[in-house]
Assembly symmetry: C2
Homo-oligomer: 202 residues x 2
Amino acid sequence: MKDEGTEDHILSAAEKVFQRKGMDGARMQEIANEAGINKAMLHYYYRSKRFLFEAVLSKAFSLIAPEINRVINDDTHLFQKIENFTPSYINFLQKHPYLPNFLIQELNRDSDFIGVLHSKKDFLDFQKFQEQVDREIQEGNIRPIKAEQLFIHLLSLNVFPFLAAPLIKGFLQLNGSEYKQLMEERKEEVTRILINYIKIKE
Amino acid sequence: MKDEGTEDHILSAAEKVFQRKGMDGARMQEIANEAGINKAMLHYYYRSKRFLFEAVLSKAFSLIAPEINRVINDDTHLFQKIENFTPSYINFLQKHPYLPNFLIQELNRDSDFIGVLHSKKDFLDFQKFQEQVDREIQEGNIRPIKAEQLFIHLLSLNVFPFLAAPLIKGFLQLNGSEYKQLMEERKEEVTRILINYIKIKE
DNA sequence: GTCTATAGCCAGATAGAC
DNA sequence: GTCTATCTGGCTATAGAC
């Protein structure tokens, strides 16, 4: 909105629709309505549905990678980063509730789209995190672990419960507020499980 | 195949197509081709695309819930169950590679489908697992934890890395074999992290 | 750059012969 | 029950006026 040019305006509308409906479920007409402009404009600026979709996918990746980067690569202690990840992620989810699911879904669906990622440069800067983990190991503060594994643990424990919420609710026969309560408790759970795992007791 | 009636035959074909392409991406023609029959037959047996899809979704849930149940509710020790979960899940994935992603995706997409689940009776039998966890706590073998949380930890650590494989590969700039190597290492990682978390050291 | 109108296609669904 | 042929609607995309 605001002072965006029409092109960005369209992209914002496309994000909303594509992230909720996916590539196949989305309709150009709905995107046009969302943007408050005509359907023909979408083609004028982005040529085809596919190109518009790829712009959205690419931007989604560019949006989430730095976000994770920010948590992983600030100057705080390793344990502090683990602790910060959960509230940061929940905060991100509030702004972009459909984005993680969207990315995972569409990258799984059409392996061509992975090429879209590789043409970009907004990868995670994993180096710094890796060095931090290795340093902590050498100093004898944590037990040996690959930084990649710790990272995947952190993502798994934080992201999956939101991703699979309807499925887990089905499994455990929970209603919305019961599940929300579990998620609340997890904030502490996740931190403790990871720190407990890597920390060397004195 | 084999001696299935036409109805089951169609359902098998529909599973393959729907699980790979999703509700919106799937084409009735493709399902008919996969089943080796005519498109009109699909409507003769299942009336509409939506009904056929719901049959597939419902069956997917009925397929995975007992599978998890089987691991969670056999007679082995709690630690043993945690250990068994990973190889069981990987084995399941080999038979139904698209199923977890399919369920999560479609349940997130259209909240109407959650009703399909509630009309079924193949929920997870969580009672037994819950009692086992509570017993271990009372006997002082593990530290206090909600069975639900332990269950979600277990699912998260096992399921997410496969679900988000393309995304994580993008983040960490890994190729297929590097990622496969990480997954191999995780088999042990996941078991250790959970048992280490709950086990009370003597 | 922005619109209206429409081309052209393709998908789900059905009619009706066998 | 199974097929072919076809209807009908909706979708992407474009032509062309302004």
